[in-house]
């Protein structure tokens, strides 16, 4: 699988053993290949790729810790990394919360790999884009087609070794009709799931219905949210809701064991089930599994890395993330229900069909109150029928409150994986019919 990376990890570990025999050390060797074809105003305007191998070394000596990484992976580069890291660790401030290394443990899965992603060429991605642009029927289009391939190996001085490999293929496209946009996104482990023609046809047809949008007054509206908008809800729950660090510090809404959500809501983080995108272990080497976060409306767990787990007297769930954010769930799956989308819409007497949310930012993490805007298509629903297109709104809404008991009026029967803006993950959810969403202003002010 990734034997060269395994060799790299063990080579660095050996160097640390020589330089600092008493040190606890962990090495992660990762290789990412990312190929991305962007198009705008219906032509390919950016077509990029990078293939990067990096080594990240954690050294803990005498109560002090340093994490260092490099992309210089020849012998000299690795020796310099070890020398620099061991030296810095001896000078580093004390690390009282060092949680120790992960002990040997087995993986629940090694990651899903698809050969079509590995084999995809720039011409293949351009072909998907070309099909999308043509199917949009002359409307101005924009978006991207992306393939990723990750391989990794992790080894530590406690004798733990794991490796994995995964692929993802993403497409994001809009069609524009006189400034009104329609969007469709999909994420998969397989290149073959990116049907540019079908997606282009869909957004083209939707965009044509967006002409002459009316402005409605701000206020509470019943809504049907499409999977693109649901993905934003999942993203923010990952950042602020189920983050073990924020939970430890009293900054999360989550109260374990309480029925904080409607019984129709079941949410997991799942990077390991075959067919799902994701890495089978985190940067601390902790194996990942299927983590149940909300079970039929009851808040069941939050994500932990080794430090937050130690503080919470829990076990790490394998969700370490860099940058001080705390543990992040990057592969959230909101379980689908049984209601086809047309039936979700048919149940609405007067409400809004919302395609997408945009630029959502948290006002207060404790309540998970966010402000943001609608985007890429809003329509008025009257007596169960999609009607007039509506101009965008600004909203200010507490997300958990919108999904609270009694507030979820229907869950769509098809969950669609949406691309992540970072990392190797996706946000998978169905359309949702919610009793209300608090629109606080129109986009025109």
């Amino acid at each position: 699988m990734s034997s060269s990376l395994a060799d790299l990890a063990h080579q660095v570990l050996d160097l640390v053993r020589t330089a600092a025999p008493t040190a606890e050390a962990a090495v992660s060797a990762d290789r990412t290949e990312q190929w991305l074809t962007r198009f705008a105003t219906s032509f390919i305007h950016q077509n990029v790729a990078d293939e990067t191998t990096s080594v990240t070394l954690t050294v803990h000596v005498d109560g002090r810790t340093t994490v260092a990484s490099t992309t210089l992976t020849d012998d000299a580069g690795l020796r310099a990394l070890v020398e620099r890291t061991v030296g810095a660790t001896r000078l580093a401030p004390l690390d009282a919360a060092w949680p120790g290394l992960v002990p040997p443990a087995s993986l629940a899965g090694t990651g899903t790999v698809d050969q079509s992603v590995l084999a995809a060429t720039p011409d293949d991605r351009a072909g998907v884009v070309q099909a999308f642009v043509r199917a949009a029927g002359g409307l101005e289009t924009a978006g991207y087609c992306r393939t990723k391939h990750w391989t990794g190996a992790y080894a530590n001085s406690a004798g733990h070794f794991v490796e994995g490999e995964a692929t993802s293929a993403d497409f994001d496209g809009i069609a524009r009709n006189d400034g009104a946009d329609s969007a469709a996104r999909i994420s998969s482990t397989r290149m073959s799931d990116l049907d540019g023609a079908a997606l282009g046809d869909r957004v083209g047809r939707n965009a044509r219905t967006l002409a002459s949008a009316i402005e409605l007054p701000a206020g509470e509206y019943e809504v049907v949210l499409m999977p693109e908008a649901v993905a934003d809800i999942l993203t923010n729950f990952a950042f602020y809701g189920f983050n073990g660090k924020q939970h430890n510090e009293g900054r999360s809404f989550a109260r374990l064991g309480e029925a904080q959500f409607d019984p129709a809501i079941t949410l997991t983080d799942d990077p390991v089930t075959p067919g799902n995108i994701g890495q089978p272990y985190d940067a601390e080497g902790t194996p990942r599994g299927v983590l149940s976060l909300v079970d039929a409306g009851v808040t069941a767990a939050v994500a932990h890395d080794r430090r937050t787990a130690a503080k919470a007297e829990a076990a790490s769930t394998g969700h370490f993330s860099e940058g001080g954010w705390g543990p992040m769930t990057e592969n959230l799956v909101l379980s689908p229900g049984s209601t086809p989308l047309p039936d979700l819409i048919r149940g609405v007497r007067r409400g809004l069909l919302v395609t997408d949310f945009w630029y959502t930012r948290v006002l207060d993490p404790r309540q998970m109150t966010l402000t943001g805007l609608t985007r890429n298509g809003v329509w008025l629903i009257e007596d169960g029928e999609i009607g007039t297109p509506v101009q965008n709104f600004r909203f200010t809404q507490a997300y958990p409150q919108a999904l609270a008991p009694g507030r979820v009026l229907g869950v769509g029967d098809t969950a669609v994986a949406q691309p992540s803006r970072w990392g190797l993950g996706s946000w998978t959810g169905p359309a949702l019919r919610l009793a209300s969403w608090n629109f606080t202003g129109t986009a025109s002010g």
Partner: protein, 478 residues
């Protein structure tokens, strides 16, 4: 082989593979960051990366390819692959593409740096952060955080037009914040700003911030906010402090004047702009007090450099003059498409990313008043400062910002502290309502500007001063 030689091999390989233009950047970057929490060090991270990124133009299609392999063979393969990717772009071709002129230059440039941030002992840095965070806990913070970040970047740029430029840019900065957790909400105060202050300077910048001197004050302010009255809802006179003005400029002017957005090149992801190129030179963006400059030559500001990542020398230009829109942030290709004659605002966040239009230092020229004079001239209003949340629509018109702290202004004096202050508006209407502007300018550094796919983190600078705006909607409620 020198890094220039490696870049030259890559450029030649791209030309040999059919490119009509190519450039290559070899970059070597070292970074260091440290976080402290409640008196203890939480994270010390050092990173080093090096590699080459090659850009090739075939027909009207761009290709970009990057690898960490700096061998001759690696550079040759990178150039060839960039050209191959560019050729694939021609499957969905755009209009004919030219590049505006950038004189072939051989040059070196380095930012000023008195104290190498990577050379300061780790113990000294740790002591600073642990002391400051401990002080905040002692003065009421439930969660006291401190951090610094330092970047040391060297780059070598070669183009098929004859550019050969190397640069050494050192950046650093830091800050502290105090969070208190109430029964139903959290409150936070930070110093000197949301993520700290940053610049193209050495460790002297962090020393000047004197973080420990402000620790007790912000912790006490955060705790006081928990019981302060909520910002009232309605329309009022709004005075913004300089730190919040930095973000106001960044979001509602800086991004709006990016030419790639105006041309629709960022439509699906980052969005477009409300600005229409046909109105460049005539459109009223704001009141006559509004003068916005694009100036990467400001010493020490975070958006400063000698040459951008297309080899165009740094130079200052107007974006808004006396309230009228007169300039954009542009690259060589976007400027050519728009019929403009300048680039100079293209950067990437590393060797593995495609250079794209990014803000440099986009700042508001100062006015004639002091903040004290502005407050004294206000009968009834609210002062807000220190950003807490930010959101703006995909055309950069409709914004809503939250600030950490607000104060009533009554009869020319500051009154009660207000919690959860927010304000909302539409860019040009808001800027046209600006009627007083302070002379107390600070060049704020924003080290976290996201844009592009794959995502890139940009470093931007924003000279900003307090200002007053009329009839602004405040106090938006959930």
């Amino acid at each position: 082989m020198s890094h220039f030689d490696v870049a030259t091999v890559a450029v030649q390989a791209a030309l040999d593979a059919g490119a009509r233009y190519a450039d290559a950047r070899v970059m070597h970057r070292r970074t260091e960051s440290m976080n402290a929490r409640n008196g203890e060090i939480e994270d010390l991270t050092q990173q080093e990366d090096a590699g080459i990124g090659v850009r090739a133009l075939v027909g009207s299609g761009w290709g970009f390819y990057a690898v960490p392999d700096l061998s001759t063979a690696g550079a040759r393969l990178a150039g060839q692959t960039a050209a191959r990717i560019a050729a694939a772009s021609t499957q969905v071709p755009g209009p004919p593409l030219d590049l505006v002129r950038s004189p072939a230059t051989t040059a070196s440039w380095a930012s000023a740096c008195e104290v190498d941030p990577l050379g300061v002992p780790l113990g000294e840095k740790g002591e600073l952060l642990t002391t400051a965070t401990r002080l905040m806990v002692e003065h009421g913070a439930d969660l006291a955080e401190g951090l610094y970040q330092a970047w040391d970047t060297r780059k070598w740029f070669v183009s098929s037009e004859g550019h050969r430029i190397d640069q050494h840019i050192r950046e650093c900065g830091g800050g502290i914040s105090a969070t208190v957790v109430g029964e139903h909400e959290t409150q936070r105060r930070s110093y000197p700003s949301y993520r700290g202050q940053y610049g193209t300077r050495g460790w002297e910048l962090v020393r000047e911030l004197d973080l420990t001197a402000h620790a007790a004050r912000i912790a006490e302010e955060a705790r006081a906010l928990l019981t302060a009255p909520v910002c009232p809802a309605g329309e009022t006179t709004l005075i913004l402090g300089g730190e919040q003005m930095c973000l106001q400029i960044h979001e509602s002017v800086g991004h709006a004047i990016e030419l790639d957005r105006i041309l629709g090149w960022e439509a699906a992801f980052a969005g477009t702009s409300w600005l229409d190129l046909s109105k460049l030179g005539s459109l009223r963006y704001g009141s006559e007090l509004m003068n916005i400059t694009i100036d990467p030559t400001i010493p020490g500001a975070l958006g400063s450099f000698g040459f951008d990542d297309e080899g165009t020398p740094a130079q200052a230009r107007d974006a808004v003059r006396d309230g009228r829109w007169v300039g954009v942030l542009a690259g060589r290709d976007s400027a050519a498409v728009a019929g403009l004659d300048y680039g100079g605002s293209v950067r990437s966040d590393g060797w593995a990313r495609l250079p794209m239009v990014r803000m440099t230092n986009v700042g508001l020229e100062p006015g004639p008043h002091t903040l004290e004079e502005i407050i004294a001239a206000t009968d009834d209003g609210i002062l807000m400062d220190f950003n807490r949340s930010w959101s703006i629509d995909d055309r950069r018109l409709n914004f809503q910002f939250g600030c950490e702290i607000g104060y009533e202004v009554k009869n020319g004096k500051l009154g009660r502290m207000l919690r959860n202050p927010t304000y909302t508006g539409i860019g040009p209407r808001f800027w046209q309502s600006m009627d007083m502007l302070s002379n107390e300018t600070v060049a704020w550094g924003t080290p976290n500007c996201g844009k592009g796919q794959p995502g890139q983190i940009g470093h931007t600078g924003h000279p900003a001063a307090p200002a007053r705006f009329q009839n602004v909607r405040v106090g938006v409620k959930a």
